[in-house]
């Protein structure tokens, strides 16, 4: 099965997830699209990497993480002025939980597990809203 041919190769992404399998799978999905990706294990590391001057076009943010969860991390990143597309990716599915996560500052929310079609859609939106 041929994968899309690096149409997103100018994009960068940050995977924020404490789950090793999701880290590996999401990073591989991004890499297959040509996206340069970085992985951190919790919200605090996501915030710290931005304090160090790193920027990303896309942040895939898990909700439940130790030290700092996705909701807190998203709020902090937005408060810092981070304008990246932040997509919440979580296995939580009650409306209340999703709403709380969205209100923290997400651009989009996807239920885990992320699939290739879902990621394709996310990347297309980013490219279409920021033509290079």
């Amino acid at each position: 099965m041929a994968s899309p041919q690096n149409f997103a190769s100018k994009l960068t992404a940050l995977v924020v997830d404490d789950h090793k399998i999701y880290q590996k799978v999401h990073q591989k999905m991004l890499n297959n699209f040509g996206v340069k990706s970085h992985v951190v294990e919790n919200g605090k590391e996501a915030v710290d990497i931005h304090w160090h001057g790193k920027k990303f076009d896309l942040i895939l943010m898990d909700m439940d993480m130790p030290i700092m969860n996705g909701i807190e991390a998203t709020k902090e990143l937005r408060a810092m002025g981070v304008c990246s597309t932040i997509v919440g990716v979580t296995s939580r599915s009650t409306e209340e939980e999703i709403l709380k996560f969205m209100e923290a500052g997400l651009d989009d929310y996807q239920e885990k597990p992320l699939t290739i079609p879902k990621l394709t859609s996310i990347l297309h939106k980013i490219i279409n809203s920021n033509p290079i």
């Binding site: 099965m1 994968s3 789950h19 090793k20 399998i21 999701y22 590996k24 799978v25 591989k28 999905m29 297959n32 296995s91 885990k112 597990p113 699939t115 290739i116």
Partner: protein, 149 residues
């Protein structure tokens, strides 16, 4: 080799038909390529390691007096997440039921779910290890693993 290929395809199809695997496993297979030829096996190995630790943790937690249902629920939630990430459908579905018993603080229900979980996980692992063996045999004969398409 045709016979081996047919055997491989039929076995894989049966795993989907019988509900052991769902579409997420197909997603993993689609991610495998020349730059990561063992991607699926690597991910499934992580799942096996993760699951075995979690099942042991759950078992120990159920032996505690009093039972810490919140802790068990946390472990089961992790197991559910792991299972969903690799397409282990039957294991994932048992986790959903298990969480209901944790919420109800029903120890007998939890014990029964743990037994089902251990049984389903063992069967899945056995089936996948056989599938991977067939794939390796095919690869040795043909040079690459056939895709599911």
């Amino acid at each position: 080799m045709d016979q081996l290929q047919r055997k491989l395809r039929d076995y894989e199809a049966a795993m989907f038909q019988q509900g052991f695997l769902d579409d997420q496993f197909s997603q993993l297979q689609k991610l495998q390529d020349d730059s990561s030829p063992d991607f699926v096996i690597e991910v499934m190995t992580m799942f096996f390691d993760d699951s075995e630790k979690l099942l042991n943790n759950i078992s120990r937690a159920l032996e505690q007096i009093p039972v810490n249902f919140k802790q068990i629920d946390a472990y089961v939630h992790q197991q559910k997440g792991s299972s969903a990430s690799v397409g282990a459908a039957r294991v994932k579905n048992i986790c959903a039921t298990f969480r209901s018993f944790c919420e109800a603080q029903n120890r007998d229900g939890c014990v029964s779910c743990l037994q089902q979980l251990q049984k389903e996980y063992s069967q899945l692992k056995k089936n996948l290890q056989y599938l991977f063996r067939l794939q390796q045999e095919f690869k040795a004969a043909a040079g690459s693993i056939p895709t599911g398409e």
